[in-house]
């Protein structure tokens, strides 16, 4: 958008959001969007609150691929989207918990992130002090044949994040799994509101540690969109390099961990070596194993020194040698296949309805990838193929990961071959004229991360919304485990590897 059109947009009553417009709609317009979601004409990307308004981001079938609509709700209530389109339910419950905005007609009014332990209600809205130390929580009823319940968590047996799972099982067979999350809610919405760009970037990098590069990238892209900052080409390549290293490390970690949950420790040990070598190379090249805080609005803060490139070539040569061996080890071990094939099925219809991203969506026929669909730099210049499957089970989610590993290796090689020389960060200053809005959609290893933010002219963030892909994957895990045996839950759960921290915010 050029300067003149920005001026026009500012003069009209509609806000200026870049690169995708944000439109203010009335209740009818809001409901029309909700209905189109229900009909499958659009896909829900996110739903979030701010003061006394609610915003909704959707994916369109055509250009522009992304639209944001807002509804003012001065009476503190808005028509429920979940009433028509159930994937919105947990997002609406979170809005109610944090902002105190009520979703009228919603199918589920139970609190979600608020466990009654903060000492206040509606921390991001009209704050109310409370005395209670803990709210009771009613799990959904299970009726019918004799069954028993198994409560698991929040502290789990492994070295993983906390969350509560309530299984209702008939013998070994799970009738219903109900998740209760929110245990790692850190109040990130409030922390980022009123923060400087630097501080908000630090927090964004710590929304979900395994996706720190992807979150930093999404946050930086949103700021850059808002201020129309052009990132130097070398920085775009280095960002993609870090993002792909992060993706590789996580996928190897996941493949190993999934096999470990099927008691196949050999694969875990081998994948662990690959992961470790990637992280060590990342530390050598960028000074941090997880590459935390290496991406800043405008570019990157660490350059890749010329003499370190050979180390990266050696690394991907070795991974390219190891990957077919690991694939053979996975594919040829029938006792492992026996556990993964046909386990934890997510139907294509559900994946589509929930607009589920990442390997969970891809394994169930929804091949969305922000690197292709949005095509942010430098991905349009790179050739790679995205994996897809319609097998829908744990096995498919492993194979899709192998596909992604192959794609990432291709990408890393192309980046090393073609990364241009030049500056790594754009010099930019705050325009000090008016409040800006920006949005970004970035493909993390788990799926697409959406960030929308509004920044005041003095560089203070008014509101920063970060939506983890897990929001639309967690509910599908409940569907995946149904009719499977309890003992297969760790396997299903690991094949999803949803983020608790990214979801709980």
């Amino acid at each position: 958008m050029n300067f003149a059109s920005k001026q026009t947009a500012r003069r009209s009553s509609q806000p200026t959001c870049l690169p995708w417009p944000r439109e203010i709609v009335d209740r009818t317009g809001w409901l029309a969007f909700a209905e189109s979601l229900a009909k499958g004409e659009r896909e829900l990307l996110s739903l979030w609150g701010e003061g006394s308004s609610v915003h909704m981001a959707v994916l369109e079938q055509r250009e522009p691929r992304l639209r944001i609509v807002s509804l003012e709700c001065p009476d503190g209530a808005f028509p429920s989207v979940a009433r028509l389109h159930i994937p919105a339910s947990r997002l609406e419950r979170a809005i109610c918990d944090l902002y105190g905005l009520k979703s009228v007609g919603a199918p589920d009014h139970r609190p979600w992130l608020d466990h009654g332990r903060w000492g206040i209600r509606q921390p991001c809205g009209a704050r109310k002090e409370i005395d209670s130390t803990c709210d009771p929580y009613e799990f959904l009823p299970v009726e019918g044949e004799p069954f028993h319940q198994i409560p698991v968590g929040p502290v789990h047996a492994g070295i993983i994040e906390p969350g509560h799972f309530r299984f209702s099982a008939n013998g070994e067979t799970v009738i219903r799994l109900e998740e209760r999350l929110g245990f790692v809610h850190k109040g990130i919405d409030r922390l980022t509101s009123g923060a400087s760009i630097e501080r908000a970037a630090q927090i964004a990098a710590r929304v979900s540690g395994d996706s720190t590069v992807a979150y930093s990238l999404a946050f930086a892209q949103a700021v850059e969109a808002a201020f129309d900052v052009n990132v130097p080409p070398r920085a775009a390549y280095l960002r993609a390099l870090m993002a792909e290293l992060e993706r590789l490390a996580n996928h190897f970690g996941d493949v190993g961990a999934i096999c470990n949950d099927a008691a196949f420790a050999l694969m875990h040990a081998q994948c662990g070596l690959v992961r470790e070598r990637i992280l060590r190379e990342a530390a050598t090249c960028f000074g941090h194993r997880l590459m935390m805080d290496r991406i800043a609005p405008g570019g990157v803060v660490v350059d890749l020194e010329r003499e370190k490139v050979s180390g990266l070539y050696t690394l991907i040569d070795w991974i390219e040698l190891m990957t077919p061996r690991l694939i053979a080890l996975f594919g040829d071990t029938t006792s492992l296949q026996d556990r993964t094939v046909g386990t934890g099925v997510v139907s294509e219809a559900l994946a589509k309805q929930y607009a589920c991203g990442g390997y969970v969506g891809r394994a169930s026929g929804r091949a969305f990838d922000a690197r292709k669909a949005i095509g942010y730099a430098p991905y349009p210049q790179l050739a790679f193929e995205i994996g897809a499957s319609k097998e829908c089970d744990v096995d498919a989610r492993v194979w899709v990961r192998f596909d992604e590993i192959r794609a990432s290796l291709q990408i890393v090689r192309q980046i090393l071959d073609a990364a241009p020389e030049g500056p790594i960060i754009a010099a930019w200053t705050l325009p000090e004229d008016w409040t800006r809005e920006g949005a970004a959609l970035v493909e993390g290893f788990r799926g697409e991360i959406f960030v929308w933010l509004r920044i005041r002219a003095d560089g203070v963030i008014q509101r920063c919304h970060m939506r983890d892909p897990s929001w639309f994957q967690w509910p599908l895990l409940e569907a995946a485990i149904k009719d499977n045996i309890v003992a297969d839950f760790p396997l299903c759960n690991k094949s999803f590897n949803c983020s608790y921290s990214g979801h709980d915010l």
């Binding site: 903060w118 929040p154 502290v155 245990f183 790692v184 630090q202 662990g272 070596l273 921290s501």
Partner: protein
């Protein structure tokens, strides 16, 4: 699979030499551990990891301690599935208010003698989340902490140094 097995037999072990114990950790530990601990536990330690609100970064690096390069078990330390089996709680995160009770109950479920190691900058003082309405802050404000291992997240070598210092001080 045979190929991997054969390789495992023929190749030199990948496991690296243990790092020297961390000097600052040694100082912090000097007075917290008594001779009795060494007598009771030998060099064997069972560790229960508790995520009290971390971003998962610390967990990733704690996980790495189990890979062949670091091989934590050679020091007699292993991760266990229940606090009932644990000598040490390894706690991460800025202790979210939603996790506070779970942490307290995990601590209460751990048999004596027990120790707590707080891992990461968040566990030290709340880190970037310290001002939040949803976080308590330092782990030490909820359960008594014997050792802090700083870092965001601390890398596996730093974790090893801290843990080795911990065990050595049990003498």
């Amino acid at each position: 699979m045979q190929k991997f097995m054969l390789q495992g037999l023929l190749r030199r072990a990948l496991t690296e030499q243990a790092p020297a114990p961390d000097a600052t950790s040694m100082a912090e530990l000097g007075y917290t551990l008594g001779r009795t601990a060494r007598q009771k536990l030998g060099r064997s330690l069972s560790i229960r990891e508790v995520d009290a609100g971390s971003c998962n970064g610390c967990e990733l690096e704690i996980h790495a301690l189990n890979n062949a390069y670091y091989d934590l078990e050679r020091f007699g330390m292993r991760f266990v599935a229940s606090p009932r089996h644990a000598d040490v709680l390894l706690v991460t995160g800025p202790v979210t208010k939603n996790m506070r009770e779970a942490l307290e109950r995990t601590y209460a479920a751990t048999p004596d003698p027990k120790w707590v190691i707080a891992v990461g900058d968040c566990a030290f003082d709340g880190g970037v989340f310290c001002e939040s309405y949803a976080c308590v802050g330092a782990v030490a404000s909820v359960v008594p902490v014997d050792l802090h291992i700083r870092g965001c997240p601390p890398d596996p070598t730093t974790l090893l140094k801290g843990l080795i210092a911990f065990v050595e001080n049990m003498e």
